[in-house]
Amino acid sequence: MTNDTKGPIVRIQSEDFDTAQILQQATKDNSNIGAVVTFTGLCRDEGGKLAALELEHYAGMAEAEITRIAERAFAHWPLDQLIAIHRHGKIAPGENIVLVIATSSHRQAAFEAASYLMDFLKTKAPFWKKEHLIDGTSSDWVDATDKDDEALNRWKDI
C-alpha cells in the first residue's frame, strides 16, 4: 500500500485483509513514527448463536463518508498515516470486519484519531448489519444503539 500524497487511505472490500502486512507497510521507510495504534473489529458469535453477519453497504458513499471522517481526523491530529479498511458481504464469527491504523510521532494523536474514526464510522458510515442465526429460525437487522450515538459527544468540539 503506497501513500505518495499525504492523506488517509480508505478501502471498502469484501475480501479479508492481512493486518500484519498492512501494519508493516504503514511503518516501512519511516523511522519518525513513534506510535502505531491498530484497531480491528471482529465478528462475534453472540454466545454461539450467530452463523454469520451480512453487511450491506452503500457503494460509493461508504468510501466517501469514511474518507470525509478520516480527513477531519487527519486535519486535527498530527498524524503520519490513517488507514481504514471496512469489509462488506457475509462475514463469519471470528473474521475481521474493520481495521483502523493510525500512526504518529506520539501516542496521544494515534490513540485519539483511531478512536475518533471508529466512533464516527459506527454511526455515519453507510453499512447495515444483518444477523443470520445458527438455528436458522430468524435473520434480522441489528439495531443502532444510543451508546454509539453518545460516543460522538466527546468529539463535539472537533
Partner: protein, 84 residues
C-alpha cells in the same frame, strides 16, 4: 432522480433502486418524504418510523429535512447505520 433504498427500508419497498420523475411539490427532503409515503402501502410501511429514516443527497448525509432538492441527482433512504 435516482432513488436508492438500503437494509430494512429496501426490504419493505421491495427493490433497491429506481429512477423517477419527482412531482413539483417534492422540493425539499420533507415534502419529498411526504410524497413518497403517499405512493403506496409499501412506501408508507418502509417510511412509517419518522425517527428511523436517514437521508443522503448525492452520497452525503442530510440532517436538515428542510434542505432543497434542487441540483440533487441521487437520494438514498436508509435506517440508522450499524457499521464498524
Amino acid at each position: 432522480m435516482k432513488i436508492l433504498y438500503f437494509a430494512w427500508i429496501r426490504e419493505r419497498v421491495g427493490f433497491s433502486q429506481e429512477e423517477i420523475d419527482l412531482p413539483p411539490q417534492a422540493q425539499t427532503v420533507e415534502t419529498f418524504l411526504t410524497w413518497m409515503k403517499s405512493r403506496g402501502e409499501e412506501f408508507d410501511y418502509a417510511l412509517e418510523k419518522d425517527g428511523a429514516v436517514r437521508i443522503a443527497l448525492d452520497q452525503e448525509h442530510c440532517n436538515d429535512f428542510s434542505c432543497s432538492l434542487e441540483g440533487v441527482s441521487e437520494i438514498a433512504l436508509f435506517p440508522p447505520m450499524t457499521g464498524g
